[in-house]
């Protein structure tokens, strides 16, 4: 019984490290004003390694994405990504997951 409890605890700790690790990036982007255009941004972010849970808030001009642990988004990378999509990157905030 003790052995089973220990295995269960270790499994929980392992799962937590898998699912909770990483960073959520919240980026302010100018020029986003229509749903059809926003799709290009989503598609480009999906191609970034480790990216998941992408959301685009048109009203606030915010684009958010989760990046897996061990990966990172840089300002230069995002400037180019949004420029290629036709928009202007302004700033970035990071939140640990």
């Amino acid at each position: 019984m003790k052995k089973q409890i220990l295995i269960g605890l270790f499994s929980l700790l392992f799962l937590q490290s898998v699912f909770a690790a990483g960073t959520r990036y919240e980026m302010r982007v100018d020029g986003l004003a229509c749903p059809f255009c926003a799709y290009g941004v989503e598609k480009k972010l999906k191609a970034v390694e480790g990216a998941s849970d992408i959301t685009v808030d048109l009203n606030k001009g915010l684009v958010s994405v989760n990046i897996a642990e061990g990966k990172e988004l840089t300002e230069e990378q995002m400037k180019k990504l949004f420029k290629d999509a036709g928009f202007t990157y302004r700033s970035m905030k990071k939140f640990p997951l």
Binding site: F36, V56, G61, G86
Partner: protein, 306 residues
Amino acid sequence: MKDRPEYFWNNLGIAGLVMTVLLWSTASTAAPITFNTALPVAQGEFLVREQLIVNQSGDDPSAANRDRTASAAVTAMGYGINHRWTVFGILPYRDIDMDLKIAGQKINRSNRGLGDVSVFTRYTAYQNNQPGQTFRIAPFAGVKAPTGKNDARDNLGALPPPVQLGTGSWDYFAGVVTTFQTLRYQVDAQASYRVNNEANDFAAGTIARLDASLQYRLWRTSAEGGIPDYLFGVLEANLVRQEKNSVNGSNDPNSNGTRLFLGPGIQYVTKRWIAETAVQIPVVQNLNGTALENGYIVRAGVRANF
């Protein structure tokens, strides 16, 4: 070409207008229904637009009692080369039907098939992005290649140019389009010019055109923190001035002129697709001689991101 009765030439204003309409109402992002926009196509991305167009002309001032319906399914594709350059390709499938009277006898002439292919490029010369809005200016230029059949015949002989699928000529066009887009509304305006060259002893008149579009958001889905769907009410205006056609080197006095269309429409926009429809109603038709008047132009189409 000389076996074609003169009244056929009078329709060519309509033919030129139809071709112009087909070629300049191209694929793009959320945008006007009857012409282009300056909004971006993301680098390396495709979008496709399919638009059905029915252009009806009648109310013939001549004794020929002409009545012409030109329908087209226009497929257009856009590709973003980079953040400034976009290329577009357009291929219409056309179905043309014309009734008229010759010596009191009603006859019909018709044709269907692929029309002329157009390609053009657009360059975003200026853009100013602000929170929730963008302003852009983009010149464009392109060419229409004579890929459509232009020597079709029926049992009465060679079909006249208004019933041919292609013009047989290489034609060139250029212009500039500007867009101001916010979360609530969008305004687009375009000025363009088109040179139609001679083929088979015929040249359609050059075309100068001014277009404007207002798209106002009437409704949106609730998508807290995400991408909602938008429903836009659309009102567009198209001022089209076409010079007289040239037939065997002489101007046709019964061809073309100036037309002003007003086009109310509606557009439903999601992040993956757009569905839209509009009716262009001629409110001014200052035409030369007995040139055939437009009745209406109906458009319905979809666009999709890939």
